[in-house]
C-alpha cells in the first residue's frame, strides 16, 4: 500500500467508525444527557409542567425549601431507616443462605433455581401480591399469625411501625435472592485447596468461614451491597403498590416524595431539585463503598 492509499484507507476507516458510533451516541445523549441537563436546569426555576407561564429563575430556592423543611428530613430518616434495615437483613440472610447452598446435597440445583425466583418478578407485582398477603382480614400472613400461631391479627399495613416492617419483609423476600446469587458466585470462586490447607491447619468451619470465605469474597459482597444500596435508596414501585406511602405519609420514601412533588402536584422545578439531591446522596454513598471495594480487591490480589 502506498502512503496515499493508506491515508485514504485510514480516512475511510474513521468515517465508518463514526457511522457506527453516532447513532448510539445520539440516542444516549437524547435519553440521558439531555434530561439530566434539563433536570439541573429546571431545579433552579419555579417551573411547573402544567403551568409553564410565570416561570422564574429562583436560584437555590428550591434546594433551600427542600432542605429546610422538617418534612424532608422525616422522609430521609424513614428512607435511611428502611434502607439500613432491609439491606442489612438481605445482606446477612443472603450470605448465610448462600453458605448453606455451598454444601452438596440432592436437588441442590433445583433449590437454587427456586430460591432465585422472587428476583425475577416485577416489583409492582411483588408489591401487589404482598398487599394481598398482608391483608388484615383474609391475608395469608394473618391466617398464619392468627390461626396457626394463635396471636391476635396484625394490622400489617395499618400502623406506621408495621407498615415499615411489611415493606422490609416484601423487599427482603424479593431481593435476598440477589444477595444469594452474588454471594454464591463469590464463594464458589474461592479455590478449594485453600480450604484443604485450612483443614490441615486445624481451622474449624467457623474459622474457615470468617478467615477465608468472608475476606476472599468481600469484594464481590461489597459490590452486591453497592447495588442493593443504590437500588433501595431509590425505592419506589414496591412501596407504591404495597402501601401507597401510607398509612398517611409513614412509608413514603424519598423517591415517592419526589414522584408526588413532580407528578401529582406538578412542581417540576422542586421535583428536579429533589432528584438531584437524591442523586448526590447515592453517588456519595457509592463512592465510599467503591473506595472500600478497591481496597479489598487490592488486598486480595
Amino acid at each position: 500500500m502506498t502512503n496515499l492509499e493508506y491515508i485514504k484507507y485510514a480516512r475511510k476507516e474513521k468515517l465508518i467508525k463514526y457511522f457506527f458510533l453516532w447513532p448510539a451516541l445520539i440516542i444516549l445523549l437524547f435519553l440521558i444527557a439531555y434530561p439530566f441537563i434539563m433536570l439541573i436546569y429546571y431545579s433552579f426555576f419555579n417551573f411547573s409542567f402544567l403551568r409553564p407561564v410565570n416561570t422564574k429563575f429562583i436560584g437555590f430556592k428550591n434546594y433551600v425549601n427542600i432542605l429546610t423543611d422538617t418534612y424532608t428530613w422525616e422522609r430521609f430518616i424513614f428512607t435511611f431507616k428502611y434502607v439500613a434495615l432491609a439491606v442489612s437483613i438481605q445482606f446477612i440472610l443472603g450470605i448465610l443462605i448462600a453458605h448453606l447452598l455451598q454444601s452438596e446435597f440432592r436437588g441442590r440445583e433445583a433449590v437454587f433455581t427456586i430460591v432465585l425466583m422472587p428476583m425475577m418478578l416485577c416489583p409492582v407485582v411483588v408489591g401487589l401480591f404482598w398487599k394481598y398477603m398482608f391483608n388484615t382480614e383474609w391475608g395469608i400472613m394473618n391466617y398464619f399469625v392468627h390461626n396457626v400461631l394463635g396471636f391476635n391479627q396484625v394490622e400489617w399495613l395499618g400502623t406506621e411501625r408495621n407498615s415499615l416492617w411489611a415493606t422490609i419483609i416484601a423487599d427482603t423476600w424479593m431481593w435476598t435472592p440477589f444477595m444469594i446469587l452474588l454471594s454464591s458466585a463469590a464463594f464458589s470462586s474461592i479455590p478449594k485447596y485453600l480450604y484443604e490447607a485450612a483443614s490441615v491447619d486445624r481451622a474449624s468451619n467457623f474459622f474457615k468461614f470468617t478467615n477465608i470465605t468472608l475476606p476472599l469474597s468481600a469484594p464481590i459482597l461489597i459490590l452486591a451491597l453497592i447495588f442493593r444500596l443504590m437500588d433501595a435508596m431509590k425505592q419506589f414501585d414496591l412501596v407504591y403498590t404495597l402501601t401507597g406511602g401510607g398509612p398517611g405519609d409513614a412509608t413514603q420514601t424519598v423517591s415517592f416524595t419526589l414522584y408526588k412533588t413532580a407528578f401529582q402536584y406538578f412542581y417540576t422545578g422542586e421535583g428536579s431539585a429533589w432528584a438531584f439531591i437524591l442523586l448526590i446522596i447515592i453517588i456519595g454513598l457509592s463512592s465510599i463503598l467503591i473506595k472500600i471495594l478497591n481496597y479489598l480487591s487490592e488486598r486480595n490480589r
Binding site: Y193, A197, S199, V200, D201, R202, S204, I212, L216
Partner: protein, 360 residues
C-alpha cells in the same frame, strides 16, 4: 512424633483404582518419598494420609490409632501443597500464624514461634510482604514455615518443588533436609523427580498404577532394583534392559543376535535361569568401552553410534537390534562409528523376568 502404617489402603474413583491395595510401614522420624510417574496414585495416597480424601478400604494408623475417620484437623499433620496454597489476602506473617490462630494460641507464644521458624528458614525479611510479591522460592518457604510452625507429628509434602525454578529447587532441597533432621518429624514426600527422591529420602517407595512396586533405601534401589520399573525410573539415564535368551555355555544372545560373553561365575548363574527368555539389566555407569578383552571377563562387541552428555557425564550409544543402549565413555574415546568391546563387572549384572518384571 508418629509412626504411620497403611494397611491394604484402597482409593477408587469409579472404575479407576487410584490407590490399589497398598500396605506400608513408615517409621517414626523417617523421611520417605513416594516416587512415580503422574497418575500413579502417589498424591492420592498422600491425600488419604492427610485425610483430604476418604479411603475406600483399608486402614491408616498413626502409631496405634486408626485415623481413617478423623478429620485432617484431628490428625496433627501439616502439609505443603504443590502450588503453595497460601492465603492470598494475608501477608507472609499472617499466613504462617494461621494454624496458630486457628488453635487460639496466645499472641506471646505466636510471636516466639514465628521468630523461631523465620530464623530457621531465613524468612525474617519476607514476613511483612504480600504473598503475590514474593518470589516462588519464598512462597514455598512460607508454606513450609506455615506447615512446621505448629510442630506437627507428620509432615506431608505434595510435589513441593515442581512449581519452582531449578535455582530455587536446589536451595529448597537443602532446606527440606535441614528441617526434617532438625525437627525429626515423620515426613512423607511425593515427587515424580527421581533426583529429588535420591537426594532426600531415607526410603523411597516406587509406585506405578496405584500399586507399590518397590520400597527401599535410595542406594539399594539404584544398585539393585528388584523390578524393571524401578531400574527404569530411578537413575538418569535409566538402566539398560536388554532382552535376551540363553546361548551356549551360559552366555546369552541378545536382540539383534549379538552374543554377550560372561565370566565363569555368571555363566553358572545363567544356566540356573529356568525361563527361556529373560532380561539382562545393567546401569550405563557400570559399562565401559574397551579395545581389548580381559581374560575371564564379561564382554559384548558393539558399534558406537554417537555420544551423548547427560548431567556432565558422557555416554556412548550403541544398538542391539532396534533398541539404543548407553555405556559410560572415557574422555579419550573417539565418537562415531567405531567398534568396541563393552566390558563390565560380575556384581553389577542383574537378570529380570520379562513377564512379572521381578528380579531373577
Amino acid at each position: 512424633m508418629a509412626r504411620i502404617r497403611l494397611e491394604n489402603l484402597k482409593k477408587h474413583y469409579g472404575k479407576v483404582k487410584a490407590v490399589d491395595d497398598i500396605s506400608l510401614d513408615i517409621q517414626d522420624k523417617e523421611f520417605v518419598i513416594f516416587l512415580g510417574p503422574s497418575g500413579c496414585g502417589k498424591t492420592t495416597t498422600l491425600r488419604c494420609i492427610a485425610g483430604l480424601e476418604a479411603a475406600n478400604g483399608g486402614n491408616i494408623f498413626f502409631d496405634e490409632k486408626r485415623v481413617n475417620d478423623l478429620e485432617p484437623a484431628d490428625r496433627n499433620i501439616a502439609m505443603v501443597f504443590q502450588f503453595y496454597a497460601l492465603y492470598p489476602h494475608l501477608n507472609a506473617y499472617k499466613n504462617i500464624i494461621f494454624p496458630l490462630k486457628a488453635e487460639k494460641m496466645s499472641s506471646h507464644e505466636i510471636k516466639k514461634k514465628v521468630m523461631w521458624v523465620a530464623e530457621l528458614l531465613r524468612l525474617e525479611h519476607t514476613l511483612n510482604r504480600k504473598i503475590s510479591e514474593l518470589p516462588d522460592g519464598d512462597k514455598q518457604k512460607v508454606a513450609l514455615a506455615r506447615a512446621i510452625v505448629r510442630n506437627p507429628e507428620v509432615l506431608l509434602l505434595d510435589e513441593p518443588l515442581s512449581a519452582l525454578d531449578e535455582k530455587f529447587r536446589e536451595q529448597m532441597r537443602i532446606e527440606f533436609l535441614k528441617i526434617q533432621k532438625a525437627l525429626s518429624v515423620t515426613t512423607v514426600y511425593v515427587t515424580h523427580d527421581q533426583r529429588e527422591a535420591m537426594t532426600l529420602a531415607d526410603r523411597i517407595i516406587v509406585m506405578k498404577e496405584g500399586k507399590i512396586i518397590e520400597v527401599g533405601e535410595p542406594e539399594k534401589l539404584y544398585e539393585e532394583p528388584k523390578n524393571l520399573f524401578t531400574g527404569y525410573f530411578i537413575g538418569s539415564p535409566g538402566m539398560n534392559f536388554i532382552a535376551c535368551r540363553a546361548g551356549e555355555e551360559g552366555n546369552i544372545i541378545t536382540e539383534g543376535n549379538a552374543t554377550i560373553h560372561f565370566s565363569k561365575a555368571v555363566q553358572k548363574k545363567v544356566k540356573d535361569i529356568s525361563i527361556e527368555k529373560f532380561i539382562f539389566g545393567i546401569r550405563p555407569e557400570y559399562l565401559y568401552f574397551s579395545k581389548t578383552i580381559m581374560k575371564e571377563g564379561n564382554y559384548l562387541k558393539v558399534k558406537i553410534i554417537n555420544q551423548e552428555t547427560i548431567q556432565q557425564i558422557q555416554y556412548g550409544n550403541f544398538y542391539l537390534g532396534n533398541n539404543l543402549y548407553k555405556c559410560l565413555m572415557q574422555d579419550s574415546e573417539s565418537a562415531g562409528s567405531v567398534e568396541r568391546y563393552v566390558v563390565f563387572h560380575d556384581e553389577k549384572i542383574r537378570f529380570y523376568d520379562p513377564e512379572s518384571g521381578e528380579i531373577l
